[in-house]
């Protein structure tokens, strides 16, 4: 993927710091899929040499893109384009339901419903939604 350097065009005399120019262009290359998911970026040294800029400049750009979640560091290999945001884990998604379940359980208790009765009524609502069982991603987490 060393040819990726050719995709960059730096204007040192612009008012935009060079590290920002690199960041913007990496983002654009990702958005246009010229740098597809998982693609390796040129090493810091390679890009700095090709663009004739200071290595610290490239290093700063990569570090910020990593912090933003656009790139990820692969040990011993370099930086690569991160896959788009994956779904949160099952536990995280269940956590998000907690505030809704809390009042549901409270109300069920106030109405004097037993646990099986509560679960049964939730089930009956689920049945009304045919599509539910076909929905994706039950395995993660």
């Amino acid at each position: 993927m060393t040819d990726a350097s050719l995709e960059f065009e730096i204007q040192p005399n612009s008012g935009v710091p060079i590290y920002r120019q690199i960041m913007d262009q990496v983002r654009a290359l990702i958005a246009s899929r010229r740098l597809p998911q998982g693609a390796l970026l040129p090493s810091i040294r390679q890009l700095a040499t090709d663009l004739e800029v200071n290595m610290m400049t490239v290093s700063k750009a990569y570090a910020r893109l990593e912090a933003d979640g656009a790139l990820e560091r692969v040990r011993g290999t370099g930086m690569r384009v991160r896959p788009p945001e994956t779904l949160p884990t099952v536990a995280e998604r269940q956590e998000e339901l907690a505030p809704l379940i809390e009042p549901l359980v409270t109300r069920a208790m106030q109405l004097g419903l037993t646990e099986p009765q509560l679960i049964a009524s939730v089930r009956s609502h689920l049945k009304e939604r045919q599509s539910w069982n076909k929905s994706p991603s039950t395995s993660r987490g």
């Binding site: 612009s14 008012g15 060079i18 920002r20 700095a48 004739e52 200071n54 290595m55 610290m56």
Partner: protein
């Protein structure tokens, strides 16, 4: 190795009672590539000469790689590279011999790199030094100063007499030298476009002091020109924190500020009931603004 490569504090120097340096403070971290900018006559060369112990300052202190500039040890001298503005070499020698001669002073002389540099810059090895043009002399001086891969490289207007191709080659060599992040480079220049690729830091010498020393990126991120249009006329004098220069013309105003923040933009929009647009400035424009001539 020292974390601070150059440490200057309160440095003063006058010539014939005319003050040139009036309390210069500058701390350069190891690994930095510093562009020293200043208008003609601002004292860049004097500062560099004081730093290297070639000129005795009137007051204050300067330390290089841990040593006092007035008393540099042979060890530190071996780790230095210096290219003066006006180059004097042993005129009668052939270039090839001068390179050999210089190499004997430095145990760490990198012969392979020197051959590369000689080839890159088409240094005429068989010519006598006195036959070289100003540009060739400067190139040769740079090669000689780079030859031992100095830990600290100081150059006084190194690109002044180089053509654009040689200038580009010079900048490439500086980048190569600085690549490991341990070597420090300080060079004075009034051509800001040369700095923008290679410099990590910029120091601006103005009125005998360092008016600004910061990372180049940070400088470009914070010094901005604000173009404002209001519903009513602006006051004649704009009261804006960190204002460098301002121009007011009725309902339009142009203000350059040393540190732009989202809060400042909101405040100005609110205070003047104005639409505020932020414009980026390149190094040359920033230099002019910081010298108060915007």
């Amino acid at each position: 190795m020292e974390q601070i490569a150059i440490d200057i504090a309160g440095l003063t120097k006058s010539y014939d009672r005319k003050p040139v340096l009036q309390g210069v403070d500058l701390r350069v971290p190891r690994g930095a590539v510093v562009g020293l900018m200043g208008m003609n006559g601002s004292g860049k060369s004097t500062l560099i000469k004081c730093l290297l112990g070639l000129v005795r300052p009137d007051g204050g202190s300067a330390r290089l790689l841990g040593d006092d500039s007035r008393n540099l040890s042979p060890e530190v001298k071996r780790r230095l590279g210096y290219v003066p503005q006006v180059v004097h070499q042993l005129d009668w020698m052939k270039v090839r011999h001068l390179i050999q001669y210089t190499s004997t002073f430095y145990p760490d002389w990198d012969e392979r790199w020197v051959s590369e540099l000689v080839e890159r810059w088409r240094v005429p090895l068989s010519d006598r030094v006195q036959a070289l043009s100003t540009g060739q002399l400067q190139t040769l001086a740079i090669v000689l100063a780079l030859g031992h891969r100095p830990d600290l490289m100081v150059l006084d207007e190194p690109v002044a007499s180089l053509d654009p191709v040689a200038r580009r080659d010079f900048l490439r060599s500086i980048l190569e030298l600085a690549r490991d992040g341990n070597r420090t480079v300080l060079f004075s220049t009034h051509i800001s476009s040369d700095l923008e690729r290679v410099a990590t830091h910029v120091a601006i010498l103005h009125a005998g002091r360092i008016a600004s020393f910061s990372e180049l990126d940070e400088l470009k991120d914070r010094v901005k020109r604000l173009r404002m249009r209001a519903i009513d006329d602006f006051p004649r004098e704009l009261d804006i924190p960190g204002l460098l220069t301002a121009k007011v013309d009725g309902r339009s105003a142009l203000a350059t500020v040393s540190t732009v923040t989202p809060e400042l933009l909101d405040e100005l929009a609110e205070r003047y009931q104005a639409e505020v647009r932020v414009e980026d400035l390149n190094l040359e424009e920033i230099f002019v603004e910081l010298n108060g001539h915007g």
